[in-house]
Symmetry: C2
C-alpha cells in the first residue's frame, strides 16, 4: 500500500474507471502533477511519455500555451450558457468548421459531452427519423464483433465485446452483432493490403436479410480501438456504405477515436470520400483538454425533424453543458493549430518513423503482428508466431509490460495482449524512436523470462 497521503486518500474515496481497485493495493495509480508537451510528471517529478495520449485525446501536447490562452480568453467572457434559446460564437464557429472539414453531405452539428453521448444521439436520431417516416419497424442496429462505441446503455447495446457488455446483456437493446474483419487471423487466408474485404459477406447477408428492421449500422472506421487496435482496409467501408445506401439503412461512422488526425488524415470518411448518415466525434476535438462531442448529419435527417412545434417532430435531447463555450473555444484553437502545424502533411515523417519502429518490434519472437494506420501503431503479442496462439488473459502480459514501461518513463497502457502507440501528434521522430525502444525493452523484460516457442 502506498505511503503517500494523497494516494491513500485516493484509495479511500475514489473509484477509478475500468480498474480493479484491488490492483491499487500493490500498484497505486500515478499521482500526476503536471504536463508539458508529450510528457506527464508525477508528484515526485518523475517523467512519463504519454504514449497513448491520455486515452487517445491529446493531439498537441499538455500545457500548450495556445490552447491555454484560448480557454482563458473565453473564460473572461463567458464560461457557459444554456444552449436552448441561446447560442454563442465559439459553438457557431466550431460547427461551421466541422461542416467544412467533413463530407459535403454532413451539414448540421448536434453537440454533446462525450463519445458515448455522441453515439446515443446518432442512435436516437436514426430511430426517431424512421418512426417519423412511418417505419417504426426499423428499430435495430447492426454492429461488428469487437466493436466499441461507448458505455452508456444505448451505446453499450452496439458493443461487440463481452468485457464491456456481459454484466448488462439482459437489459440491452435487441441489436444485431455481425462477424466483421479479423485481418490478423483472416479466415480467408488473405492480407489486408491486397484483399477485397471478402469478409464483408457476413455483413452483406445480415443487411439483405434484416434491412427491413434495421435502422442503421454503426462502425469504427479502419481501426477497432478497444478490440485491440484491429485494423481493416477501406474497401470494407466502401462496400458497407454502398450496401446501406442501396438498402435504406443509415450508416453511423464513429470516429471518436480515429478522428482528428489519428489515421494520418483529419477524418476517415472525408479522406476516403465516403458519406455516412451520421458522424460521431469527440476525444481529440479539444486536443485532450475538455469533454466535448459532436454528432453530424445531413439535410435528409434534419428535414424530418423540422416543422411546426405542434407536430412534435423536434429532437428532444439535451445535456446541461451542451456546447460548453470553454470546450468549443479550445476546439476552435485545436483546428487552428492543425493548420499551423501543417497537418496532415507534416505527419508523414512521423508516420514513417513509427513504421520503422514497428519493423524493429516485429523482430521480437512474440510479435504476432505489428500493424499501423497513420499515427496509430499496434503490436499484438502471441505465445507462438506460427499458431498465433494468444497469451491467456489471466497471465496479464500486457499489464506487466505496462508496469515495466512505467519504470522506463512511458505510460503505455495496453489493451489485453496488444501494446499500442497513439501518441500526441506533436511527437518528434526522435521521441518515436525512444518510445519504441522502451516498448522493446519492456516486452523483453517481461517475456524474456517466459518460456517461448
Amino acid at each position: 500500500m502506498s505511503t503517500s497521503p494523497d494516494l491513500q486518500r485516493d484509495f479511500e474515496y475514489v473509484w477509478h474507471p475500468c480498474t480493479q481497485m484491488k490492483d491499487h493495493e500493490t500498484n497505486p495509480p500515478l499521482l500526476m502533477e503536471r504536463g508539458e508537451g508529450i510528457y506527464l510528471f508525477d508528484q515526485e517529478g518523475r517523467k512519463y511519455m504519454d504514449v497513448i495520449s491520455s486515452w487517445w485525446v491529446n493531439l498537441f501536447g499538455h500545457n500548450h500555451p495556445r490552447l491555454n490562452a484560448s480557454v482563458q480568453k473565453q473564460m473572461e467572457r463567458l464560461a457557459h450558457v444554456m444552449f436552448a434559446g441561446a447560442t454563442h460564437r465559439p459553438a457557431i464557429d466550431l460547427a461551421e468548421s466541422l461542416v467544412r472539414l467533413t463530407p459535403d453531405s454532413l451539414t448540421k452539428v448536434f453537440f454533446s459531452d462525450n463519445g458515448s453521448t455522441s453515439v446515443e444521439v446518432a442512435l436516437k436520431l436514426s430511430l426517431q427519423y424512421w418512426a417519423q417516416k412511418g417505419h417504426g419497424e426499423k428499430r435495430r442496429f447492426a454492429y461488428l464483433q469487437g466493436a466499441y462505441h461507448g458505455e452508456t446503455l444505448g451505446a453499450l447495446s452496439v458493443c461487440g465485446m463481452d468485457l464491456f457488455r456481459k454484466p448488462f446483456e439482459n437489459v440491452l437493446m435487441d441489436n444485431l452483432e455481425v462477424q466483421g474483419p479479423d485481418c490478423f487471423r483472416c479466415p480467408y487466408g488473405l492480407k489486408r493490403e491486397a484483399c477485397d474485404a471478402e469478409c464483408f459477406e457476413h455483413m452483406d447477408r445480415a443487411l439483405n436479410e434484416n434491412h427491413e428492421t434495421l435502422a442503421g449500422v454503426i462502425v469504427e472506421p479502419l481501426v477497432q480501438g478497444a478490440a485491440g487496435m484491429k485494423m481493416y482496409p477501406p474497401v470494407y467501408l466502401n462496400k458497407l456504405t454502398a450496401a446501406c445506401d442501396r438498402l435504406g439503412v443509415h450508416t453511423i461512422f464513429d470516429e471518436v477515436a480515429v478522428g482528428f488526425g489519428r489515421t494520418g488524415a483529419m477524418f476517415v470518411c472525408e479522406n476516403l470520400g465516403l458519406k455516412p448518415t451520421f458522424l460521431c466525434l469527440s476525444k481529440g476535438v479539444t486536443s485532450g483538454y475538455l469533454p466535448l462531442a459532436a454528432t453530424l448529419t445531413g439535410e435528409e435527417i434534419y428535414r424530418a425533424f423540422y416543422g411546426d412545434y405542434e407536430d412534435f417532430k423536434l429532437f428532444v435531447h439535451s445535456h446541461s453543458y451542451t456546447a460548453n463555450p470553454l470546450a468549443c473555444a479550445c476546439a476552435n484553437e485545436t483546428l487552428a493549430l492543425w493548420r499551423e502545424y501543417e497537418f496532415p502533411g507534416a505527419l508523414e515523417p512521423k508516420i514513417n518513423a513509427l513504421r520503422a519502429g514497428g519493423k524493429k518490434l516485429s523482430e521480437l519472437q512474440w510479435c504476432g503482428e505489428y500493424r499501423q494506420t497513420g499515427m496509430i501503431g499496434a503490436l499484438e503479442l502471441v505465445k507462438s508466431r506460427e499458431t498465433k496462439e494468444p497469451f491467456a488473459i489471466g497471465e496479464r502480459v500486457g499489464y506487466k509490460i505496462y508496469q515495466e514501461a512505467l519504470k522506463r518513463g512511458a505510460l503505455m497502457r495496453p489493451l489485453g495482449n496488444v501494446i499500442y502507440f497513439m501518441p500526441p501528434l506533436v511527437i518528434t521522430e526522435q521521441e518515436i524512436d525512444s518510445m519504441i525502444e522502451i516498448a522493446y525493452d519492456s516486452i523483453r523484460a517481461v517475456l524474456g523470462k517466459t518460456e517461448s516457442h
Copy 2:
C-alpha cells in the same frame, strides 16, 4: 429570419438541443457574448437576468474571479490526464469533500461527465451488483410518473415523461413506472405541508409485488424538475427508503438538479438524514462552468466489485475525460465559495424574498399554484383556478411569456405552463424582487389578453 451573420451561420450549421429548429425562423436564439454575475449580455449589449441559472447549473454567477482563477491555475499545471492508472489532487480533494458532505454511508466516488452518465453509472452498478450476488433476476428499475433522469437510452428508460421517451419507447429497458406524488392535484384532497404521503401506497404496492425483480428505485428527491418543478414532501422519501431497505431494493437519489443548495440545503439526502444506495450529482458541481458528474455509493456496493483481477468483478465503465482536472479544480473552488458565502445559512433571506414574491404572483388569476422548495420557486398557470384546467400545450402559453420576459431583460425559459425561478444562489433580495416583477408583468402581458374565468 435574423439579419445577423452569426445567427445566420447558427441557423445553417447548428442543431440546438430540445428545440424545434423551425422556431428559429421567427425567434432566433440569443447570441450571448459575455456573462457577469447573474446577468448575460448578448452581442448588442442587451442584458438578461439568468433566472434559471443556464439550465440549473450556475451557483455563483458568471465570470466569477475565484472560479476563473481556479481553472486557470490548474490549466497551467495539467488540463487533463487519463483516470485509469493515474490520478490527480483535484479529483482526490473533490472526492474526499463529496464523501464528507454526503451521508456517512456514501464513501466512494465514481466520476463521469454529465447527469445522464451519472445515472447510467448508478443503474449499471446496481445491475452488476445484483448479478454478482447471484440475483440476476433483479434487473428492473422502478421510477415515478413525471420522472426525468437524463436522455441517454439507459437514463431514458427510467423517464416518466412521454415528451422525452415516446419516440424511443420500443427500444427502452422494461422498467416499472409507478404513480407518484401529484400534490397540486392531490387525488386524496390533501396538502403537501400536512399529509403523510398517502400516495406512497402505489409505490408500496409496486415494491411489495415486484421487489424480487427490482434492482432499484430511482427518484428526484423533493422536486421533479422537468415535470414542471413538481414538489412533494420529505415523508415520501422516508417511506421510500424504509421500504426499499426492508425489501432489498437499491435507492438511487438523483440530485443532479436539486443538489448543491437548490433546496436550501447542500444535499437533500444529508439534510433529511436519508441513506440512499447511490447518489447522482452534476450541474452545480462546477457552478455552471464545465461538465462534470459524480455517482457516490458505499462499501456494500464497492466490496462486491473488489477482488482479484481474474475474477472479473471490476466495474468496466469509462469516459475519456473522467474526472477532468479543470472541472475538478472548479468544483473544489465551488465548495470553497459555498463556505465563504456562508451558505446555506445566508440563503435564508433570499428564500424568504422568493416566498414573498410567490405570494405576489399568487394574486394572478391564472396562478393555479405557487410552490417553493428552498431556492426553487414555480408558478403553475391554469385556465381556471377552480377546475385547475391547464392551458392546452398548443397554446404555448409558457413560451409566449418567455418571449415577453426576454423583452423585459430576463431569461425565464418555462416548462410547459410552469414559470419557474432557479436563479444563481448569489442573487440578491432586490434582484429577486425585480425577477418577480418581470414574471408578473410578462404573465399579464400574455394572459391579460386572453379570456379568463
